[in-house]
Amino acid sequence: MPDTALHTIAEIADRMEANRHSPHCKKSALTWYSASRTDVGRVRPTNEDAFLDSSEQRLWAVADGMGGHSRGDYASSTVIEQLRAFPRQSALLANLQDLEARLHKANAQCRNAFRNKQPGTTVAAMLAHGSYCFILWAGDSRVYRLRGDNLEQMTQDHSLAQQKYINGELTKAEKDQHASSHILTRAVGAHTRLRIELDYACVHPGDRYLLCSDGLYNPLQHPDIGAELGQGAPQDACDALVDLALAGGGEDNITAIVVAAAPAN
């Protein structure tokens, strides 16, 4: 979905409610479990990542402060504080509008906080609602989904390399190795008018989701992420992933949240 078009989402939400007996997404009661961990890594002096791990709100988020801009830690913590105060409501549209407004507010706070600095941060957030999850993001923090043995990246990076791939200038294989894969085209704090990207997916019992900063996925291969994400309890998987990223060099701050959807008892 190019950008948040809340009217479209509202219609989709209503349609989902109407289609709840659809064989593609049976309405099933889910219980959510999550675990999280952040690590400064082996090279950086400070941790500019921040995260929210809230099974109570059924909201999880990772923000990766941009080191190139000064005070990336301010930007990432501003985003997370905004999301932490999110008052969950029953209506999906109200929740999504509130989340978008909070990210816009964080964007404005980042832009106005300092006279000579422009702090920026990525954000990847996931909200669970009924049998669906909604993912909002800006930048290159990612959300993955493990269903069975299949690991799928749910977000597309807002990076120059991703743009070149969409534009046909790079192949899929070249994209991740390209020098421009670290150049962000979108981030909280970087735009007068921030555009948040939004996607949704039906949740199946047994699905596992990983929200992470690039410090986690850069040193790891796609199959390794899938293998570790499926292991043990969410905390075990989370620890294994962060340890693997540290073993891979730990050149950046590392943050991971593992979220598991289990059938309700």
Binding site: A5, H7, I12, C25, G168, E169
Partner: protein, 312 residues
């Protein structure tokens, strides 16, 4: 004048092994397309690139998201979109190749795969581009619209994300998923919308992007006409001239209220750069609340841009 960036597409060259490969005697439509890769997601649809194994080329493949494959309204909309985009054969529209069903019976249609930059991406870095160059884009969108209107099609979702500038500088108006056509029998009389059923336009919900929507479209006016697209094109022109959309409300209800009741500030008072009078006046004329006060047709708008500005 700066050019739109040309890029080298990551395409493979042709080899005789591909061009001369034998076509099976019995063609199986279910195995025609392979190597799918999702390139964009819509609210209800998926856009993929894939290989056409019959013609040995990469094409664009549009289908419904799994959540909507059993939804009769969305299926009807997808078929309608395929047929409308196929019927609109114009240099500023994307050619449609085929409408079909996959091996599970789900509809898809294929189109030419065009890589490029959307006008959204261009406007995000507007200062890099020359106004004349941007006006040539608007002019071509106007030509596509004029043609569609002459064919009895209203686009209803004109926005920068739906305008693509291809690798050779070609301008393409995309996404006819919200387009409106009229019933043949009612075309002269009442302009009754041809919908599969009463709720096809969304059970009274707004369709399209509010930011570029005409006042009558926000009111879900059943008598909506081609002047609605001219309003949206005017909003696009306004943003191209000033760098900001006519209205900027963050809250949807406030934005809708502005669209329905307020006139945006004159582009000459908004832009830090000089805005030519003829273009500022044209944008303001398109953004009039009364459809009858807008330019009478897309052709008229194109003539003004071309003769009073580009060829001046």
């Amino acid at each position: 004048m700066p050019e739109f960036r040309q890029h080298k597409a990551a395409e493979t060259p042709l080899y005789a092994e591909e061009t001369d490969a034998v076509l099976p005697e019995k063609l199986n439509p279910n195995t025609r397309y392979a190597y799918f890769s999702t390139i964009a997601k819509g609210g209800k649809s998926l856009i993929k690139s894939c290989r056409d194994l019959h013609l040995r080329r990469t094409v664009c493949y549009k289908t419904l998201r799994p959540e909507f494959v059993d939804d009769p309204i969305e299926n009807q909309r997808l078929v309608r979109e395929a047929r409308i985009s196929a019927a609109l054969q114009h240099p500023n529209t994307v050619p449609t190749y085929e409408l079909g069903r996959d091996n599970r019976g789900h509809y898809y249609f294929t189109m030419k795969l065009v890589h490029g930059y959307t006008l959204r991406q261009v406007l995000d870095y507007r200062e890099r581009y020359d106004l004349t160059q941007l006006m040539k884009v608007i002019e071509q969108v106007g030509q596509a619209l004029g043609y569609a209107h002459s064919m009895g099609v209203l686009h209803r979702d004109i926005k920068p994300d739906n305008i693509l500038i291809g690798p050779y500088g070609e301008v393409l108006l995309l996404d006819w998923g919200l387009a409106k056509v009229w019933n043949k029998t009612d075309f002269d009389a009442g302009h009754t919308e041809a919908e599969a059923e009463a709720g096809m336009t969304g059970e009274g919900k707004l369709q399209g992007t509010v930011m570029y929507m005409s006042p009558e479209q926000t009111r879900r006016d059943p008598d909506i006409a081609l002047q609605s697209d001219l309003y949206s094109l005017g909003a696009l022109l306004y943003e191209t001239l000033t760098g900001t959309t006519p209205f900027q409300g963050d809250i949807v209800h406030a934005l809708l209220e502005q669209i329905r009741t307020q006139l945006p500030p004159d582009p000459r008072t908004v832009s830090s750069q000089k805005v030519p009078d003829v273009l500022a006046d044209l944008a303001m004329q398109c953004l009039q609340k009364d459809p009858a006060a807008r330019p009478e047709s897309a052709e008229k708008l194109v003539r003004i841009i071309r003769h009073d500005w580009l060829d001046r």
